[in-house]
């Protein structure tokens, strides 16, 4: 399955945000997975394959049936992930890793050999490129527009505009 234009990182705690629209580094904590044979540490994401991904992510629950991402979601454009990957070749990557209960699932990957400073730099890059959408804001938008898909399409459009303007800035004179 191809990689879509955006991925989503769920926001579990309000302490992961500095303010309503700014993520801090604690949202991007890479973890060692003992089941992995290679040297990549993981950070779970959902690939934004369709308009239901945000809703799915916001509804994800842990074993105690509590919502995993109470605060909302951060959307990261693939365009920016590729920039980071290009800049930190061999240290940063991403993958699709569908799970039986989550076909959207994937990981951002950080090599175990990455220096602490480079790791922080990559995390800061991810935080800087995140577009934050709080649960309450999404719900309010949905109240105003009962068609969930319309709201999500708007979010995707905003991301696309962001990517487009970002590309223009990068490639501009």
């Amino acid at each position: 399955m191809p990689i879509p234009d955006n991925c989503i990182r769920g926001i579990p705690k309000s302490t992961c945000l500095e303010d309503r629209s700014t993520a801090n580094l604690t949202l991007f904590e890479f973890r060692h997975n003992p089941d992995r044979a290679d040297r990549w540490n993981e950070l779970s994401i959902n690939w934004m394959d369709d308009e239901h991904t945000i809703d799915f992510t916001l509804q994800q629950k842990n074993d105690e049936k509590e919502l995993l991402f109470m605060v909302g979601v951060a959307i990261l454009p693939l365009f920016d992930l590729d920039k980071i990957r290009k800049r930190h070749t061999n240290f940063f990557h991403y993958e699709r890793q569908s799970k039986p209960n989550n076909g959207y699932h994937g990981n951002l990957l950080l090599n175990d050999d990455t220096s602490k400073t480079r790791k922080t730099l990559i995390r800061a890059g991810l935080a800087n490129r995140s577009e934050i959408h709080r649960r309450e804001d999404i719900i309010n938008q949905c109240k105003n527009n009962p068609r969930w898909s319309v709201v999500v399409r708007r979010l995707i459009k905003r991301c696309r505009n962001f990517i487009f303007s970002s590309r223009k800035r990068t490639n501009g004179p």
């Binding site: 602490k116 400073t117 730099l121 800061a124 800087n128 800035r169």
Partner: protein, 160 residues
């Protein structure tokens, strides 16, 4: 000059609205800085000091104390007008899962941060700018704190 790793898309220092360039690093605050009013932090390290109670590792605590003191002293040493006319946000601190401390200064167009690790050789600083400007990242070891903080404060005052 501070040694650091600089990375941009263009392989050269950006020449857009941001003023990140080598010449500026030796200058103090620019006169053309935007007028934000008197809302800058008088002590941007105050909030970060609250984190000490959560730090387990003595080496991390010692380095953090030295870093915050250095930032405060050098911040106070910058021209008063520059401090008052700029909008320096508070330095935010977080204890990471591995016991290290992350410090971040988040500005509208860029962020400057520090990672304080149990082994001082692993501690470092970083700069990430993006979103509305050319992508620019730089990082380095903390090493000589005076030199690093002077470099970063000059850069901050030149770009806010």
């Amino acid at each position: 000059m501070t040694n650091f790793l600089q990375e941009t898309d263009s392989q050269s220092w950006p020449e857009s609205d941001l003023h990140f360039n080598l010449e500026d690093l030796t200058k103090s605050a620019k006169e053309q800085a935007n007028v934000y009013g008197l809302r800058g932090e008088s002590n941007p390290t105050r909030q970060a000091r609250d984190i000490f109670s959560q730090i387990q590792n003595p080496s991390v605590a010692e380095q953090l104390s030295k870093l915050l003191s250095t930032i405060y002293i050098l911040f106070r040493a910058t021209p008063r007008e520059a401090r008052e006319m700029s909008s320096i946000p508070p330095l935010r601190a977080h204890v990471d899962e591995d016991g290290s401390v992350l410090l971040e200064w988040i500005f509208s167009d860029f962020r400057v941060g520090f990672n304080i690790e149990p082994n001082p050789d692993d501690s470092g600083w970083h700069l990430v700018s993006d979103k509305t400007h050319n992508v620019y990242t730089a990082s380095g070891q903390l090493g000589d704190m005076n030199e690093v903080i002077t470099f970063l404060l000059n850069l901050i005052f030149s770009n806010i």
